[in-house]
Every structure is written in structure tokens, then in C-alpha cells.
């Protein structure tokens, strides 16, 4: 059978966002794959060089629309590292609570897109409905639904809303009950398992060498979670377990994300109950020092990093953004070769693509 290149994208219902996957197909099985990105390149690193430190906050939100808060927080951490600031205790706990809610909302958004890809409209609707609970919580905290702009350099924008503790505990109980229902909906149906088990295998060595990070890495068996191993904010005061799974196939990635949501509920409960009183924000200096700052955070999609170079003025000299999906997608070839064309949907869906951060 003649091998031919097929373009899955850039405008294709399977790709969430604008990127193109060129696969070489021999009959139905994939022989070679070559992803192409860059369709949504906005030149954010160049934009940030012409804006003051505070004005970059809303831009950092718009890096990845699925998990806006974690990028906003990563930027704040980088500049705090550059300026050598220390965030007050309450600010750290508020950040941890907000980040974990954002993680659950982002994983639910992934679950919705993943179910819709496999044909289950009902999975999409259920996941989106349950995501609303956390979107409302974050909206009460920060003020908007998608781009929260909640973190500030040196703390958090607003204090927790009234009876925030009661609402978030109730939300955690609700989502844990719902995830139990999802197990029926997904793992109960053999059709879902047929489409997921043993598809898109990624070995442990490949995952580490290719720079895959986050849930896909932990799904391949590597027990490495930045929140646990390089604790930032007040994660060291909260005990939780990184989730791993030995197989490394699509089912493992699905499994890791579902249990990570349960872990996030545990973290939220501890963060909300242990939250001390007091200031949640300090006044950040206007002009940054000459020097470099590094932020390294566990984004719902992987290891997000930012490297800022300050030159004494109130604008950064250079701001480099490391996007987890940009590197994980480069490893797409190793997951795709040998599987069917219909599996591309499941494998690429498992990576929780967010093109905003890939193309910057």
C-alpha cells in the first residue's frame, strides 16, 4: 500500500487549537508523525519586553486559556525570585487553594474534550457542568471566569470571599462524588476501554529523555511531581501523594488525571483549613534589580518554567517561557508510530493540548 502523508489539522475537530499533525500512513497504521506548531504564535516574549512588570500580569494569564491562573502564578514566582520578595503566609495558602482549584478545572476541561473526541457527548456535558462549580469559586475569589489575573507580584489580588471555606469544602465533596460516577461512565463501558488500553504506549526511558513532563510522565511510571520534589509556596506544609501509573498508555494518562483531581481535593481541604489570618500581599518595588529570576511550577499539563532577566528598569530585559506542551508534543512521534489513524484522536487527546502556551 503506498504510504501517503495525511494532514490532521490545522483546522480539524480533533486538534484543540491550531496545530497540524502530519502523519505518514501505510494503510491504516501510522508509520511516521511530524507535528507542526506556530499557527498561534503571538510573540508574547517580545511583548513582555515592552511592558512594565505589573502590566505583564494580564498577558501571563493569556498564555494558556485552560489553566490561566497557573501561568499567572508562575510569572509572579519568577519576578519574586528576581526581586527576592517573600510572599506572606496567607497569600501562599490562598495561592495553593486557587492553584488546586484551577488544576481540577483544567483536568475537567481535558476530560470534557477527551470524552467528546471519543464520541461521548455525555462525558463532555458532565465534565463541563462540574467544572462550573470550580469556575464559580475562582470567580468569587478573583473576579473573572477564565483569565483570573488573581496573583500579584508579592501576593494575591483579593482576600478570600466570605464563607469561602464552606463553599470550597462543599465543592470538594461534590466533585469526589462525581468522579465516582465518572468511573462508571468511563471505565464501566468496554467500548471506552477498547479505545484506551494499550494505545499510545510511551516507555519510561523515552518519557524522561524526550522531556515529557506532568501527567504523561507520571503515567509512564516516573514518580516526579514538582509540588512534592521542589516544593514552592506552602506545598511542603501539605501532605499529598503524587500519582503514578506503570503502563504509560492512554488509559494510564486518563487514570493519572482522574486521581490527581482527587488529590487536589485533599490539598484544597488542607489548604483551606490551615489558612492563617493576616496580610495576603506586600508592596512590590517598581524597578526590578539587575539579575536573573527563575520560576518552576507544576502546571496541570506539565513543568512550566519562566526565566526572567532584569536590567534595573521597570521592564524585564528578557522573559523566556518554557511550555510543557511544546516539549511533550515534540515526543508525539514516539507515541503514535504503530497505531491506527483512529487512535490519533485518543493519543493526542491524552496530552491535553493547549496551543496558547505552545506557540507563545
Amino acid at each position: 500500500m503506498a504510504e501517503m502523508w495525511i494532514n490532521m489539522g490545522p483546522q480539524h475537530p480533533m486538534t484543540h487549537g491550531l496545530w497540524n499533525l502530519r502523519i505518514k500512513v501505510d494503510g491504516e497504521t501510522i508509520v511516521d508523525a511530524e507535528p507542526e506548531v506556530g499557527y498561534l504564535h503571538r510573540g508574547i516574549e517580545k511583548i513582555c519586553e515592552n511592558r512594565t512588570y505589573t502590566q505583564i500580569l494580564p498577558i501571563a494569564d493569556r498564555l494558556c486559556y485552560g489553566a490561566a491562573l497557573s501561568w499567572n502564578h508562575l510569572y509572579c514566582r519568577t519576578i519574586e525570585d528576581l526581586m527576592g520578595l517573600e510572599v506572606p503566609e496567607r497569600g501562599q495558602y490562598l495561592r495553593v487553594a486557587a492553584l488546586e482549584m484551577q488544576r481540577i478545572a483544567s483536568h475537567l476541561m481535558w476530560l470534557a474534550a477527551y470524552a467528546a473526541d471519543l464520541g461521548m457527548m455525555i462525558g463532555f456535558i458532565y465534565a463541563m457542568r462540574d467544572r462550573e462549580i470550580f469556575i464559580d469559586l475562582l470567580q468569587a475569589m478573583s473576579g473573572s471566569r477564565l483569565t483570573y489575573n488573581y496573583c500579584r507580584i508579592g501576593g494575591v489580588a483579593h482576600d478570600a470571599p466570605p464563607d469561602f471555606e464552606r463553599d470550597s469544602l462543599r465543592a470538594c465533596d461534590y466533585i469526589e462524588k462525581k468522579i465516582e460516577e465518572y468511573y462508571d461512565l468511563y471505565e464501566g463501558s468496554k467500548v471506552f476501554m477498547m479505545r484506551n488500553v494499550g494505545i499510545g504506549k510511551l516507555s519510561k526511558e523515552d518519557a524522561m529523555n524526550l522531556g515529557v513532563t506532568g501527567p504523561p510522565l507520571r503515567a509512564s511510571g516516573v514518580r516526579y511531581d514538582l509540588r512534592k520534589d521542589v516544593p514552592y509556596e506552602s506545598y511542603d506544609a501539605i501532605d499529598f501523594q503524587p500519582i503514578t501509573h506503570p503502563d504509560g498508555d492512554c488509559y494510564a494518562r486518563y487514570r493519572v488525571r482522574m486521581e490527581e483531581m482527587l488529590e487536589s481535593c485533599k490539598i484544597i481541604r488542607q489548604a483551606v483549613t490551615k489558612m492563617p489570618k493576616g496580610k495576603w500581599r506586600i508592596v512590590a518595588p517598581r524597578n526590578g534589580p539587575v539579575g536573573t529570576g527563575l520560576g518552576r511550577v507544576e502546571d496541570p499539563r506539565g513543568e512550566g518554567m519562566m526565566y526572567a532577566v532584569g536590567d534595573g528598569t521597570d521592564r524585564p530585559y528578557r522573559l523566556k517561557i518554557r511550555s510543557p506542551i511544546f516539549v511533550t508534543v515534540s515526543a508525539a512521534k514516539h507515541m503514535l508510530v504503530g497505531y491506527k489513524v483512529a487512535d490519533v484522536v485518543a493519543i493526542m487527546g491524552g496530552l491535553d493540548m493547549c496551543i496558547g502556551e505552545t506557540d507563545r
Partner: protein, 305 residues
């Protein structure tokens, strides 16, 4: 309970029954027990939290027209508009172009007098692009600001009105924490009380004892951002008073310097040269004096022209 779920695929007996049972209970729940999750939008509305960032609301009385919000806006969607107001006279208030605004809330936080707030109205769609450029008067609502619980702390500090102050040093002696020091103003031969606000407890003894009521205890909001401070050089100041007129917070006073009169043609004494004096407690760091001064007498690091 997650471990209990760890069944291998082969014995997931339910093949297709369990998902159907799950969706079935959902039908029962939303049909008979409760109402479905969605609301019928045009007829029912969601209640939004007070912190929601929607269309802006401007309190004309609190706003002093310092254009801090215009400078911090990442998308340059605000502009200062000169207005003629019956009771406030000639004023300058910000207008907002909602077409460019990204509702980030930075302008609300940088406002020194907490005049700008974000309301909960979000239905701003319009067929005509010019209609979403809101004029300050459209945003005006003078009593919205009082109803909003403001997170920033307010503390009372002594505020000096230099015109009334005669330099009598009574307040310096009176202050229990000794935070007032009388500093000579160079060139004018008069003295001006300097306040170190960190030590000030805000009892207001100095305001009471001041004979000509020059000091007044005012509530000032703490600022979240470090605002630039103007630095003044006497040499290049020609006393034109442009900065005093430009300063929205009234922190710059023009004092005349005795002994610099020039003898005019008819042998009469001309008016003495003036110089600007800064009361830095009132300064909100907007940079208007820096831009107004044509003779580079005022330096502000980091503020662009």
C-alpha cells in the same frame, strides 16, 4: 475508594450496562428530583459575586483626575477627558474604551483614592464600535463606591496645607512621637514641617494645636504599588508654576523667594521669583508635574515622558 475501582478490564462485566445505568439515574435525577443544571438565560439571570470584574463605575467626587489608571492600563484603553461639571468645576476624568479593555482590574487597584470600581454588568455587546467607548459621564455613579467593602486599609495621616502654614513650629513641639521636624525651605527663608509617616499614630494632636488650621487629619488609602517620587532641583526651576497647576493632588505650592526681585525700569521693585515646594505626603506618583515641567527641574526615575 479509588483503589477499589482498580478492576482489570476483563472483569469489567458491565460491558455497556454500567454507563447506561449511570445516565439513567441522571435522567431520573434531573427529570423528577431537581431542576436541570442550566438556567433559561433571557428569563433567569445568574447572581454574580461582588468581586466580579464587569463594566467600570467611576465616583466623580472621589476621583482627582491623577491618570494613574491611564498609565497602568496594559492595553491603553483609557484616556483623560476634560469636563465641565456644574458643582465640581473644570475637572479631568478617565473614559474607557470597552472594545480594548481586558477587564484585568489593575486600574481599580492603582487608583489612589479608590474612585474606580468594576461593577457586575457584563452585557456590553453593541453593533456600533464607537458606542462601547464609554465617556466618563456614562461611567459616573457617585454612591456605588461607598457600598463596596474596600479591602485596602485606610489610615489617617496629617496633611499639610502650605499656604495657611506660617511656620510657627507649634506642631513640631506637640507631636508625642516626635515625627514632625521643621525643615528650612531653601531660598524662601521659611520653615516647613516634614512628617515621617511611619512613626505617626494618627491621634491628630498636631492638627488641634496648629493656630492657623494648616494641618488636617485625612483618611488616605494604602497603595498596593510603589509609586515614583518626584525629585526637585532648585537651580533649574524658573517658578513658572506649571507643575503646581498640573498636580491633581495639590501637593505642590509656589512660594516666593525674597531678595530675588529685579529692579524694573521705573526703579520699582519687581515681584520676587517663585519656587515650587513639594508636600510629598499628598503625592500620588502620577508624573504630571514631571511632564508639565519644561525646564527639567523635576526628576522622576523610571517614568517615561
Amino acid at each position: 475508594m479509588a483503589e477499589a475501582r482498580k478492576k482489570s478490564i476483563r472483569d469489567s462485566t458491565g460491558i455497556v450496562v454500567r454507563p447506561i445505568k449511570r445516565t439513567g439515574t441522571q435522567v431520573v435525577r434531573s427529570l423528577i428530583l431537581g431542576k436541570p443544571n442550566t438556567i433559561l438565560y433571557p428569563y433567569q439571570h445568574l447572581k454574580l459575586p461582588p468581586t466580579y470584574r464587569g463594566k467600570h463605575v467611576l465616583d466623580f467626587k472621589r476621583c482627582i483626575g491623577c491618570s494613574n489608571c491611564v498609565q497602568i492600563c496594559p492595553n491603553d484603553c483609557m484616556w483623560m477627558q476634560k469636563l465641565e461639571d456644574p458643582e465640581l468645576g473644570k475637572i479631568e476624568r478617565p473614559g474607557i474604551d470597552m472594545g480594548r479593555c481586558l477587564f484585568c482590574g489593575l486600574c481599580v487597584e492603582v487608583c489612589p483614592t479608590v474612585a474606580l470600581h468594576e461593577g457586575v454588568e457584563f452585557e456590553l455587546a453593541n453593533r456600533d464600535r464607537t458606542k462601547i467607548k464609554f465617556d466618563p459621564r456614562d461611567l459616573r455613579d457617585d454612591h456605588y463606591a461607598d457600598s463596596v467593602k474596600e479591602e485596602r486599609q485606610k489610615h489617617t495621616i496629617p496633611v499639610l496645607d502650605l499656604d495657611k502654614c506660617s511656620g510657627c513650629e507649634k506642631c513640631a513641639g506637640e507631636c508625642p512621637e516626635m515625627c514632625i521636624a521643621m525643615m528650612p525651605v531653601e531660598g524662601t527663608g521659611r520653615k516647613k514641617p516634614e512628617f515621617t509617616l511611619a512613626k505617626c499614630e494618627g491621634e491628630g494632636k498636631c492638627a488641634i494645636v496648629c493656630p492657623d488650621k494648616a494641618i488636617e487629619m485625612k483618611d488616605v488609602w494604602e497603595s498596593y504599588f510603589e509609586m515614583p517620587e518626584p525629585k526637585f532641583e532648585l537651580k533649574s526651576c524658573t517658578g513658572c508654576g506649571a507643575c503646581a497647576r498640573a498636580c491633581p493632588a495639590g501637593a505642590i505650592y509656589m512660594m516666593d523667594m525674597p531678595g530675588t526681585e529685579k529692579t524694573l525700569a521705573g526703579g520699582k521693585k519687581g515681584k520676587p521669583k517663585k519656587r515650587a515646594v513639594f508636600v510629598l505626603e499628598k503625592c500620588v506618583g502620577c508624573g504630571k508635574c514631571f511632564r508639565a515641567c519644561k525646564f527639567k527641574a523635576i526628576e522622576m526615575p523610571g517614568v517615561r515622558k
